[in-house]
Each structure stands twice: as structure tokens, then as C-alpha cells.
């Protein structure tokens, strides 16, 4: 495990009497691409401002390379921000914008020139050094803002939804570029976004923030397959919750069929004598195989097709679950070699995931 760069310890913040962050603790490791993901209003921008030093937490500590930096002024923090609206200096040209941080460090002029050239070539903007920033396109301004942040070679770069203002195509390109840039520089990136796909495309690890509370910090793979809460399960990708009862620490039984599930052993919050407990099993859309119903099969769930959407690589079905617990499930079938099933047909569903996550009813959302 690599070295910890930044460590937040029970950070709480409130503004105008409203609690915005509730005891957030997490660690950012040196050299990783770390994302802070959450719906708008979850407190991620506040957390970013606390890390940058523009806001002070009401409680908690911020450790930088192991030493307390909670009250360090923003000028003295070895990190730079890329703002959502870029916040470039309109009276300076591209070169001077990128040079700003270096000039503040009072570096000799030749070093400034070479560092700016280096930063601009990293973002492929070296041909535009003498242009006015107001003449640049959104994507170009974004690159200049990025170069300005990395030119002083900070330990950490904070990015506040930097791709939010760009169109979809450019955003995809920039995701790739950002990730490549971060690898090349070996810098730690802390990326704030509300876009799950964006976070997944770039991050080594992601922290999920909801209503001021940290839900889970994990790799994208783990978040997807082992979400720690219903919120995470629903926020990351598409989630189907199938009624089930948990019968032991690592077993659950489907209530609509005879399905048995092996569980991740992470949610061991109930004492053994309380089993069985009612709740739901998480099943992702691609973990179900649909078949036209022929005979009554004990092991499978049955349902009726409500809608079919052709999405290219996959065909998406909305299926109403039959039985005591009616629900609508979202099921993806690979479109290769798939024979379409018409709306209104009865189907049987085979769940193919070997292990699953269980959420008890008491922990609804």
C-alpha cells in the first residue's frame, strides 16, 4: 500500500445552521486518481474547499503528509485547483496565466519559461502561448486551466467538475487526456464530479458522498459489485432489488423462487439468532438470463415483459416480477445471438451471479 498524502479525520462542516458535512473521514494516497462522487448538494464542493483551505471545518482534522494542516492558509498548501468555470485571468495571455503560480514562487525567469513551455506541451497548447485566453474555445480554456494548475508541480491537483461545461464528445476525449496526464506526471489528482461514468472512466478509487455523509470509498469494481449501501447500489449503475430473506451470515433465499444466494460477508450487522431477516438482494441488469417461459421451473423467477429497448450492444428489458412481491426489473441481454422477446410474453429469469449483496429492510436507502 502506498503512502498517504492527505487524510481527513471526522471533518464536519455546517453553514447557516445547516449541516453540510457529517464526520467525513478518508485518505487520499500519493499518486492515485481519486474521485469524490455524489449527487449535487451532497457537500462535495464544500469538502473540496476545505481541502483547498478556503473554508475551515467546524470539527475534525486535515492531515497533509502526516502533519496537521487544518488551519494552513491556502497560499501555503502544496495543491492547486482547476475550477469548474476555469477562472482564468482574462487580462493575461495563455503564457502568463500558466506562469502565474511560478511567478508567485519567485522562480527565475528562464525556469518560468521552461516550466510554462513544459506544462503547455503536456496539454498540447504550446502553439497558443501568446493567445488571449478569451479567444480560446471551452476545451482550450480547460487545458490552460489544467496547465496553470500543474505548472508549479504541486503534490495534489484538485479538479472541481472541470468537464462540466464541455459537450459530450469533448468530455470523453478530455477524460482520456486527464487520465494520461495524471499517469505521466505521477501527480495525485482529486477529482470532484456528480457524473458516475466520468468517475469510473478515470479513477483508481472513488469516494461516494451522500447528504454530507461518506457512504463508501473503494475501487470502481468494488463499488459496482459490493456496494456498501442501497444508495451506492442505486447511484452506481442500475440496480435491481429482488425480495429475499437472509438465512445466515452468508446465505439468502429468494422469496419469489427457490434461488439461493451466497453473500459477501461484509454486511454482518445482525446477530445470528435474529435470522431470517427480510430484505433485498442486489442483482445487476447483466446478471440475469431471460428465457421464454415453457414449463414451471422451480429454480427460476418468472415475469412478464413490459418494454424492450434496443441499445446497440445490449437489449434492455423491463420485466414485471410475478409472485407475492411485484417489482419491475431492468435486465440487459447481449444483443449478439439474442432472439428478441416480445412485449407481454411470460419469461423465466435465471440469476447467474455467484455472490451478491443483501440489504435488510430496516436499512431502506
Amino acid at each position: 500500500m502506498s503512502e498517504t498524502l492527505l487524510s481527513l479525520q471526522s471533518i464536519s462542516a455546517s453553514m447557516a445552521g445547516r449541516e453540510i458535512l457529517k464526520s467525513v473521514s478518508m485518505e487520499v494516497r500519493l499518486g492515485e486518481f481519486f474521485s469524490l462522487l455524489g449527487p449535487s448538494g451532497c457537500g462535495k464542493t464544500t469538502l473540496l474547499r476545505i481541502i483547498a483551505g478556503f473554508l475551515q471545518p467546524n470539527q475534525g482534522k486535515l492531515l497533509w503528509c502526516g502533519s496537521d494542516a487544518t488551519h494552513l492558509p491556502p497560499q501555503r498548501r502544496d495543491l492547486n485547483l482547476v475550477f469548474q468555470n476555469y477562472a482564468l485571468f482574462p487580462h493575461l495571455n495563455v503564457f502568463e496565466n500558466v506562469a502565474f503560480g511560478l511567478r508567485m514562487q519567485k522562480l527565475p525567469e528562464d525556469l518560468v519559461v521552461s516550466r510554462v513551455a513544459e506544462a503547455l506541451s503536456l496539454v498540447r497548447m504550446n502553439q497558443h502561448a501568446r493567445r488571449r485566453v478569451t479567444e480560446l474555445s471551452g476545451g482550450q480554456q480547460q487545458r490552460v486551466a489544467l496547465a496553470r494548475a500543474v505548472a508549479p508541480r504541486p503534490k495534489l491537483v484538485l479538479l472541481d467538475e472541470p468537464l462540466g461545461a464541455l459537450d459530450l464528445q469533448l468530455r470523453k476525449e478530455m477524460q482520456w487526456e486527464l487520465k494520461t496526464l495524471q499517469r505521466q506526471l505521477g501527480m495525485t489528482f482529486l477529482y470532484v464530479t456528480h457524473d458516475q461514468e466520468e468517475a469510473f472512466a478515470m479513477s483508481d478509487r472513488i469516494a461516494i458522498l451522500n447528504a454530507g455523509r461518506l457512504e463508501q470509498v473503494a475501487s470502481p469494481e468494488e463499488l459496482y459489485s459490493r456496494p456498501a449501501s442501497r444508495f451506492v447500489a442505486q447511484f452506481i449503475g442500475t440496480a435491481n432489488f429482488i425480495p429475499a430473506e437472509k438465512t445466515s451470515l452468508d446465505h439468502a433465499r429468494c422469496l419469489n423462487s427457490n434461488h439461493h444466494f451466497l453473500l459477501h460477508e461484509t454486511n454482518a450487522e445482525v446477530l445470528p439468532e435474529n435470522y431470517p431477516i427480510n430484505g433485498d438482494i442486489l442483482v445487476r441488469p447483466e446478471q440475469i438470463i431471460l428465457k421464454k417461459k415453457q414449463t414451471e421451473e422451480l429454480k427460476s423467477l418468472s415475469g412478464v415483459i413490459q418494454m424492450r429497448q434496443f441499445l446497440g450492444a445490449t437489449v434492455r428489458y423491463h420485466v414485471e416480477l410475478q409472485g407475492n412481491h411485484k417489482r419491475t426489473l431492468t435486465i440487459d441481454q447481449s444483443s449478439a445471438g439474442h432472439e428478441p422477446i416480445a412485449t407481454g410474453e411470460h419469461v423465466s429469469m435465471l440469476i447467474i451471479n455467484p455472490s451478491s449483496s443483501f440489504f435488510s429492510e430496516s436499512r431502506l436507502t
Partner: protein
């Protein structure tokens, strides 16, 4: 047919425009032309001559009035721009937008008040409060000082509004970016904020200067206390009181017109320059 009517329409508009411009500018036009009059009477044309220009530009009384006007305008412009800047800074940083809007209204209201009312008000406050207060601490507030004070209050509204508008295209997030990159508050002020406000300062200065040059009422009422002081408009006023009004009055008026128009025009043009130094299409004033 269509072509002919549209051509007629165009000619009609042209004639109308010329007529309108003539109505608007004929007083100024006649004034300037009658400055080049050979006659000894201001209102009688007797042929072209530079005689009165020569005479006027050598007149020590006129020159001292001109000097006074420029002196008063310069000092009051400095005061108005600095105070106006502090106001604009406060207003821009004000979190409560309603308070900022109320401030803006209060600042611009005097621009629409009858100037003579302001002048009389100033006379009262200067003679009753400022002058006794100043002499109490040993500084005699002469008429120059009083007029500077008066012109500062006149120009303040213009300076504040121009700078306030300039601030509207200044994004406060830049300051966070600068601080984040290691700038001290001082460096933020001098390297980020001030350079972007330069056109605003220039515009506010020009307008304040022109307002001060133009002013008659305030100068007239405040020049009487203690030693009397003549600014250019007061000097022009005194010329018409004399028995024979010579073309000198046209010449001095023309001079005042040229100077004031220059500063007004410069002020208006400068207020349209955006932060990057380019002319922007939008009129920010």
C-alpha cells in the same frame, strides 16, 4: 414602383436625420462659428477672424479661470474615483444582493436631482458645518477647497456607477484561483484586480473630470465664501454681465465645449473596453 417608393423613403429618412441633427447641434455649431467672428459684438457676424481667439488666449483673467477649473477638476476627480472605487468594491463583495442594489440606487439618485438644489444644499452644509469645523482644526477651507468638495460629491455618482459596472465583468473566483496559486492579498489586488479595472478607472476619471469642468451652479454658490474663485463657467457667466458682450464669450465657451466633450467622449469609449483591452460590443455604462 417598389424601388421608387423605397428610394423616396430613404431620401425622406436622410432629410429627417439631417434636420434632427441640425436641431440638436445648431446651438453648438453657431457658438463655434461665432468664435471666429471679426466683429466686436458677440451676436453680430462681420466675417472670419482669429482675432478673438488671440485675444482670449492672452487674457490673464481667462487663463487663471481655466487653471482653476483644471485644478478643481483634477483634485475632485481623484477624490471621486477613489471613493467611487471603494464603494464599487464594497458593493461587488456584498453578499446580500438587495443591499447592493439599494446602494446602487442611492449612489445614482443624485445624478437625477436638480443641480441647483444640490448646490444650495452644499452651500448650507459647507458654510454651517465644514468651514467652521475645518477652521477649528486650523485648516481654512477656502472657496477652492469648498468647490473641490462640491465637485467631488457631484462626480462621485458617475465614478461609482462606471466602476460598479466594470466590476460586473470581474469574476471573484479568479481571486480564489490566484490565492490558490500562492498570491498574497496584496498581489491579488495589484496583479489580478487592478489591471482589469484600468479601463474603468480611466472612464470614471474622464467622466468625473468632464462633470467638474461643466459645473456652474455648485461653483457659483461655493465660490462666494471668503476669497472668491473663478472657474471657467463662472468666468463665462461674468462675461455676459458686462455692457458689451464680445465674441470672447463664444471663444471661451467653445474652449470649454472642446475640453468637456473630449473627456466625455473618452470616458464613454473607455467604459466599453473589456478586461482584455478589446472594444466590446456591449455598452456597460
Amino acid at each position: 414602383m417598389v424601388n421608387r417608393t423605397s428610394r423616396l423613403k430613404k431620401i425622406g429618412i436622410l432629410v429627417w436625420s439631417i434636420l434632427l441633427l441640425f436641431i440638436l447641434y445648431c446651438p453648438v455649431l453657431f457658438l463655434v462659428v461665432f468664435g471666429f467672428n471679426a466683429s466686436s459684438y458677440a451676436l453680430r457676424w462681420e466675417g472670419f477672424s482669429l482675432r478673438w481667439y488671440e485675444k482670449t488666449l492672452e487674457n490673464p483673467e481667462m487663463l487663471s479661470a481655466l487653471f482653476n477649473s483644471i485644478m478643481v477638476a483634477t483634485v475632485s476627480t481623484c477624490f471621486a474615483v477613489v471613493i467611487g472605487f471603494l464603494y464599487a468594491l464594497w458593493s461587488h463583495r456584498q453578499q446580500n444582493k438587495k443591499i447592493a442594489a439599494a446602494g446602487d440606487s442611492l449612489m445614482s439618485l443624485p445624478l437625477f436631482m436638480p443641480e441647483i438644489v444640490i448646490a444650495i444644499g452644499l452651500l448650507v452644509v459647507v458654510s454651517q458645518i465644514f468651514r467652521p469645523a475645518a477652521s477649528n482644526i486650523g485648516i481654512p477651507l477656502d472657496s477652492m477647497g469648498s468647490i473641490i468638495l462640491g465637485h467631488t460629491t457631484l462626480a462621485l455618482g458617475y465614478a461609482a456607477l462606471v466602476l460598479r459596472n466594470r466590476f460586473k465583468c470581474y469574476d471573484l473566483q479568479q481571486e480564489l484561483a490566484a490565492i490558490d496559486l500562492g498570491a498574497t492579498p496584496r498581489q491579488v489586488f495589484f496583479r489580478v484586480m487592478l489591471p482589469q479595472l484600468v479601463p474603468g478607472f480611466a472612464a470614471a476619471s474622464c467622466l468625473s473630470f468632464a462633470v467638474s469642468l461643466d459645473d456652474f451652479y455648485v461653483s457659483y454658490f461655493l465660490s462666494t465664501g471668503g476669497s472668491s474663485l473663478q472657474t471657467l463657467p463662472i468666468y463665462i457667466w461674468s462675461l455676459q454681465g458686462r455692457r458689451a458682450m464680445t465674441p470672447e464669450i463664444n471663444v471661451v465657451s467653445s474652449l470649454l465645449l472642446f475640453i468637456a466633450a473630449f473627456f466625455f467622449a473618452a470616458g464613454l469609449l473607455l467604459s466599453r473596453i473589456d478586461a482584455t483591452g478589446k472594444q466590446s460590443g456591449k455598452d456597460h455604462l
